[in-house]
Symmetry: C2
Subunit: 471 residues, 2 copies
């Protein structure tokens, strides 16, 4: 039966696009190498019609399908299980930018298009496509939408969901839904678009999307501010939103220990205020007028913040090179953390107003329960999103620490998240990594509705089964 399916897939796509032998690790192992799966076959359709044909063949054979984009996900959502019975459907050959509509400020792009390729395509046409994240050189638009990716510009432009006007989807029945709307208003029924966005391939396969473009700003400036505490950082955020309005495009908070790791492991990098301040904030201001105007606005904000006591010192980058250096410090935190040794990562979100109390309380509880524990706390404060990471005590064996403490640390951190009305997955998704933990932290009514939707749209449970929600 499975061999017959492989033959059928080969006749549909051509043998070159049905991979069954050789090293398939690039498709079978997830990005962080937490899961080593085994696929029945990896298929690489070149068109929406081919995707639909593959789905129909798999459904007829009762074979489940794992859609895959750039395979850069962090929650094991896009690689097969170890059974050797699943078909991995890679969208990588579908990478065309089908159309850029300047007057409508939209771009129609296929799912396999790499995010950075789209950013550049937009820029060449004089527009900004604002989604931006660490994996942008290899992640794909389809994966970005399937996981509702976040990144560094969410504060101003929203998540992937907010940047999408319409999707084309192959359903679990192998039908094609052309929902490629370029409309900003369309109230004709249930919001299917947003249901597919963030569903991680469990309800159907996104094959193309119509995305929003924005005007390129005239100037983008970056500032770095030392703040005396997390509560001061929250106060600064409020001031920045009021004074810069939508010009505020980035607001990243970084704890002293996290920045200290950057200074320690990359001594050639200059980390402003790292010795003097418990927290630093990186701010970005995108201006539609001029650099001079942006600078004036930025300096006035920071002066007012110093006066209000929520900033102790600050610097505005003089030029693009300096701005890049500041961002580079921020982006080097995860690497510096890796240099320091194994650690436990979290991707949590909280109401912004509750973040100071969350951190104070959770820091204290962790310190009490696991003496010597070190917190690498940083994140997108403007979105309420913290990467609240935990490093083993200094000098200990990090591997043993992870083995012995990971479950306990996760439980404590997530229990606190629940108490503070937060989310245990802000921007990374559920995948298989969090699918069984999720019911502990999410309303059973919501889980039941998710199951009803999954059963309604994919009654045979063949689309990426075991991810997001157990059918």
């Amino acid at each position: 039966m499975t061999q017959a399916l492989v033959f059928q897939l080969q006749s549909l796509l051509g043998p070159a696009h049905v991979l069954v032998g050789g090293d398939l690790a690039a498709y079978e192992v997830d990005w962080r190498k937490r899961s080593h799966g085994k696929a029945l076959a990896v298929v690489r359709p070149g068109s929406t019609d081919e995707v639909a044909a593959v789905v129909r063949a798999c459904v007829a054979a009762g074979t489940s399908i794992v859609p895959q984009g750039g395979n850069t996900g962090l929650v094991v959502g896009g690689t097969p299980d170890a059974s050797g019975t699943q078909v991995v459907l890679s969208l990588q050959r579908m990478q065309a930018v089908r159309e850029l509509d300047a007057a409508n400020m939209t771009v129609l792009v296929e799912a396999g298009c790499v995010l950075q390729t789209l950013q550049e395509h937009a820029r060449q046409a004089g527009f900004l496509f604002p989604l931006s994240l660490a994996a942008e050189g290899s992640c794909t638009i389809g994966g970005n939408l399937a996981t509702n990716a976040g990144g560094t510009q969410v504060l101003r432009y929203g998540n992937a969901r907010d940047l999408c006007l319409g999707v084309e989807v192959v359903t679990p029945q192998g039908e094609i839904w052309n929902g490629l709307s370029g409309l900003r208003k369309d109230n004709t029924g249930y919001d299917l678009r947003d249901l597919f966005i963030g569903s991680e391939g469990t309800l159907g396969i996104i094959t193309a999307a119509t995305l929003k473009l924005y005007p390129l700003p005239a100037a983008t400036l970056t500032a770095w501010a030392a703040v005396p505490g997390m509560d001061a950082a929250v106060q600064l955020l409020g001031m920045a939103r009021a004074r810069l309005g939508a010009g505020l495009t980035g607001f990243e908070v970084m704890g002293q220990f996290a920045l200290g790791l950057v200074a320690k492991h990359y001594p050639q990098m200059r980390v402003p205020f790292v010795h003097d301040s418990p927290w630093c904030v990186l701010l970005e201001n995108a201006d539609h007028e001029s650099e001079a105007h942006a600078r004036g606005q930025f300096e006035a904000l920071l002066e007012a913040a110093v006066e209000a006591g929520c900033v102790t010192d600050a610097v505005v980058a003089e030029n693009i090179a300096q701005a890049r250096q500041l961002w580079h410090v921020r982006e080097s935190i995860p690497l510096a953390q890796a240099e320091e040794g194994l650690n436990i990562k979290h991707d949590i979100s909280l109401p912004i107003s509750r973040i100071p109390a969350y951190c104070a309380e959770t820091d204290a509880r962790l310190a009490r329960e696991i003496p010597g524990i070190r917190l690498v706390n940083f994140g997108h404060l403007g979105d309420g999103n913290l990467h609240y990471n935990v490093q083993a005590p200094e000098g200990g064996d990090p591997a043993a620490f992870l083995r012995e403490q990971e479950a306990r640390v996760n439980e404590l951190v997530y229990e606190q998240v629940r108490r503070f009305d937060g989310s245990i997955s802000a921007e990374h998704g559920v995948g298989s990594l969090k699918v069984d933990g999720l019911p502990h932290y999410k309303s059973p009514v919501a889980i039941d509705m998710m199951k009803a939707i999954k059963r309604g749209l994919d009654p045979r449970n063949l689309m990426n089964p075991g991810r997001v929600v157990r059918a």
Copy 2:
């Protein structure tokens, strides 16, 4: 059986909140008086628990429920049918603003809160709640969300959907889902929030919501520009977005005939450029810096637009009174149209780039097929949303015109919408008015998915049946 249900509802809510006699027209007749329904009872629960209890009682009795907010909808979605067997569930008693969280920039409000009340509550706390539409003095937040309301600020702030972070819902099983997230990022499963938003009470009842707040702008200016054609209006929109960025909060287009009706029926109103220009545009610029800055930006934009040939004349309001007058002209178009006589209204959206061709072609087809027909075309061009309305030929009998031509006009207008990849309901929803027409203009794959979701969440079809999609 039905009498037993009424007794049970009375014991649950108290007899004062179960209306069964007297004049119930305010609940049974829709806003535009197109449908005169008859309810078994009108219930007015005062809390989420009471809503849930009502739903459980109705479900046990097999009685269907019609949720209702301010009853200002335009598509007959919130009033009962004529059978006398449905229970109208009014949210009007649930109007509390439960909590305003300044640091998180959110407000938690009950479904029955009137939009204007919320706007004022936000303003008093120093924030903007940007949803704004004609019915704001009586429509409710629950209704705004159930219909994904639009209005005049969508260009900058989005529809009701974009302003909502979380909802509390009573499900068709009478369970309460607390999805009142104050989070800007939460990727833990399917997007149930956006599924309920815009579902017009057919999947459950929204009882409360957490909504986004924005900083109050320092100054808001209004300009009025004469443009030589719809293509020039689209060009001006592009220039305004590039130069004002997110400062551009309004962009309304108005045809000469529409403005001429205002000048004719309200001669005391000054309508700029009405005699000289085929189209006018109203622009709004909200500035986070100062009025002087906004004025400089606005004037520079308009000068550049004159130079580029897409504006022939323009004026910036000198003060708030003048700005209000300009908006008042725009808002008086529907009233002036009513003064002129019965007419056929449409609420369509199109890709902005295709609007000039749509209008040219559809205007010509209508003129050819129905000689003397008059087009009252105006709308939110920044959102691609036109109120492409049709007035009877001058001197004829408008009632006879409607009787004889309404179906033909609708068919022609909507057929053109389909050809141009538009939507037949941009911001008003489906209700019962468009439920049977929708399948002609929407993908059958999408309709099937909507039905599957409806059956999955409301298997007994008791929530606002016959609206949005036939189960």
